[in-house]
Symmetry: C2
Subunit: 203 residues, 2 copies
Amino acid sequence: MPASSTLRDRRRLQTGREIQSATLRLALREGFEAITTEMIAAEAGVSLRTFFNYYANKEAALVGRRPEIDPGIIGWFEIASGPLMDDLFEALSRHLDDGHLNRETIRLISTLLERSPELVPIFHASLQKLACQIVSLVTSRLGETARPEAELLAELLSHALGHAIRSWSQSDDMSESEITRLARQHVEKVGALIGYGGEAPSR
Amino acid sequence: MPASSTLRDRRRLQTGREIQSATLRLALREGFEAITTEMIAAEAGVSLRTFFNYYANKEAALVGRRPEIDPGIIGWFEIASGPLMDDLFEALSRHLDDGHLNRETIRLISTLLERSPELVPIFHASLQKLACQIVSLVTSRLGETARPEAELLAELLSHALGHAIRSWSQSDDMSESEITRLARQHVEKVGALIGYGGEAPSR
DNA sequence: CATATATTTGCATGGCATGCAATGTTTGCT
DNA sequence: AGCAAACATTGCATGCCATGCAAATATATG
């Protein structure tokens, strides 16, 4: 049974989402820089102090709370013995299948990012937690000696996933399960660029 | 002749460095969280207001001001016609050869990062400006359609460079010109992981 | 229902960051 | 050298950000 069985847990989740939603609504209406934490708290119907109980700052409220990769998935990965990339993307697929991704919310975020590109670094930073977990996965497979490469690979995968999720939010005819497929395509294109050169096209 | 010909420019550079140095000194002595912008300003011998004329916040002062890639290098890249990776790393080599890298400063930063891993994201964020410039280089070569891959590749390269620079600061017998060589090695290992699989070792 | 455990809230505090206008310094020109 | 324009530094005032603490409120458990 998930941790959301108790009323308290459900409310906490709900309030977190309500604050994020309020932040997105206000940011789209007034511009992110123009809004204050007090406004957000008022819009979400909580006290300022409660706002800070949920998020460390405005930026965090924009991104919302992203759950960690389920220990069950990590356990599966450590047992799996396929090619590294196959197992990694399978683990990411299962993670996304948890259903904690709200298309409408991501769509709002994407809209905001297009209107205010200076916010993009906030979202890049929010991928760091995922990247960190991917590093754990990769080093559990390749050993500590491969940590430098694991960190680079994790950076690559998390950003590819972020990009794919934004693509998914934009096109209604893309299923959730295609996110990792798209991410993998991009990663493999990068692999080709690294591996085979990519000479300048004749002009 | 560089832009540092005039006294004013030299002073601006000098003050910027002095503030960064003061920030590092204090952060190593007291811990980054424990110090205030007022302390930094006092230690650097400037007013608080001047501190904010140089850096937007404490974090930026820690990283210092990183110069952009010289337009001359960008021009060279756009004319070059070798394999993409060769030309990219050559451009990065030339950029680093500008000599704006102070080993002792980087060493202090590395020490600080080991003692306070929670600061690592600050440095990751500081690589974003470089990543952005790499995106420009890559799309100038491959065209706008390759932007998604260009962004991933840029992320990869900038992080690889960041890692290599930290390695360089730690070992006295590593020359500055070997930074890009090391970065490239790591990138190619990642390429191998992507391209050829990297099966789980038998246990 | 009673108790233990979480959560929300208000208040007080101190750091962060910016605009503005006054003052001081450098530059380039005559 | 002397002057005016451009630029840099500073103090002050202001308002937002973020946290600790303790009282009040809500939920869980038995």
